[in-house]
Symmetry: C2
Subunit: 239 residues, 2 copies
DNA sequence: TGCATTATGTTGCATATCGAACAGACGAAA
DNA sequence: TTTCGTCTGTTCGATATGCAACATAATGCA
């Protein structure tokens, strides 16, 4: 049984609205690589993530990929589609396995349209995604692989609270939009500096403080956006 | 006098809602470099662009800049701030001078909150911005300066209908997130191929078709997003 | 235990772009 | 016309990363 507080978006709603959505949702496990939506498709379901992490990924025609969004238990996979009929050019899948609540997209959309509370909170989440993306778009352009890797690990850790992450270098390369050999290089550098430790698909963060110093400023920017999410709402749904 | 149809967002609204917003708006000229909003500030006004182009720009702590959004007469500068209390990390200014309608941000927000029509259309515009950004974030990472320059010129031309653009290489460098000398290189290449022609702050597009071929696929993706904007609404405000 | 699979290490060359500097060219203002 | 500021051309070394190939090491399955 998943707590109704496990997803921060749901937790930020009034109990009435939360119950409305919960009644229409089904708890699901979300194993690694589960696809939450595909590019250019109207999703059948949206997902309230309750554990694990989903990645929103942009794929170029060359096949190169880069992460452009990250969703943990604070959010909803499939929220961008609420805004309009535009076809989303990204896809979204589980990057670290976890759990969630699955709701028919049409039901979520109905709530989004009819409830101001649902809409306000969903818009807040969408805004956080968009503003982070604005920052990360620049980050992808200017910052070096090592800084980006550090930033990325920190962002993931913030959303899992775990200091051990199951991630291969191959996978990290896809997230960072880099070659796998580049990841080997920069991850090796971080390891030699004692900031992380890794082995075959397992990364452990050893020194968070120094890792933050090794990351680009984009980490701080997105961290604040993340930290302030739902802050104005009434936690626990007291409203 | 600016036609009420000059801004496509306003044109997509019902006449009642359009009038509501027009009554609260002031026509303004928007000279080159006019700042429409700053980073981390709640804007005092939003702007419905009626001519010219605004750029949404991300600035890194190093001072490096890259464009992460572009707004022509289809849109609203200051729409992201409607979604929530998050502090927008980008700033926005006129990249080609033009005109617009200036409205107190609080008035626009009021309409956004109270009118479903306003909200739906604004959300559509926001979605177009976000989905384009998702694509361009990857573009910034993977595509070379020449492709990006071609894409960028095309995107600007789509929003101005003019084949002569007043832009210096220095400025293009800021938009593309590149060195000015790199822009000289790739612009020279495009000129030698007969796709563009330029001289001291003036770029002329000579061969649109071949320029599209020189641009990365991101152009097509964002073009479709742009072309389909407000398509489902009732143009002219018949609704 | 052995074997296949997968993850990581490493190397080497190619290259786009950076970063900085300087020179020339154009145009507006005096 | 002269001057000055701005825009553009060009060079050149430095470098992060791409791209490809192969070697090694760890894991899990048969």
């Amino acid at each position: 049984m998943i707590s109704s507080q496990a997803n921060l978006f749901l937790a930020s709603l009034s109990s009435k609205n939360r119950d409305f959505l919960l009644e229409r949702s089904t708890p699901v496990t979300l194993p690694l690589r589960t696809v939450l939506y595909n590019a250019e498709e109207v999703p059948s379901h949206a997902y309230f993530i309750t554990s694990g992490i989903a990645s929103v990924v942009s794929t170029m025609s060359s096949g190169a990929t880069a992460e452009v969004g990250i969703i943990g238990r604070e959010g909803i996979a499939g929220s961008l589609q609420l805004l309009g009929p535009g076809l989303v050019p990204t896809h979204c899948f589980m990057q670290l396995d976890g759990t969630g609540l699955k709701i028919p997209f049409s039901e979520l959309k109905k709530a989004f349209r009819s409830s101001e509370d649902v809409r306000d909170r969903a818009n807040e989440f969408i805004q956080e995604q968009v503003l982070s993306l604005s920052q990360l778009a620049g980050c992808n352009r200017f910052h070096e692989a090592e800084e980006r890797l550090a930033r990325w690990l920190l962002m993931v850790q913030d959303r899992t609270q775990s200091d051990v992450l199951n991630l291969t270098q191959e996978f990290l390369a896809m997230m960072l939009g880099a070659q796998r050999s580049t990841v080997t290089l920069v991850a090796g550098s971080l390891q030699r500096s004692g900031l992380i430790e890794y082995q075959r698909g397992r990364v452990k963060i050893l020194n968070r403080e120094n890792l933050e110093a090794a990351a680009c400023d984009c980490y701080q920017v997105t961290k604040h956006l993340y930290a302030n999410l739902y802050k104005q709402s009434t936690p626990g749904g007291r409203k």
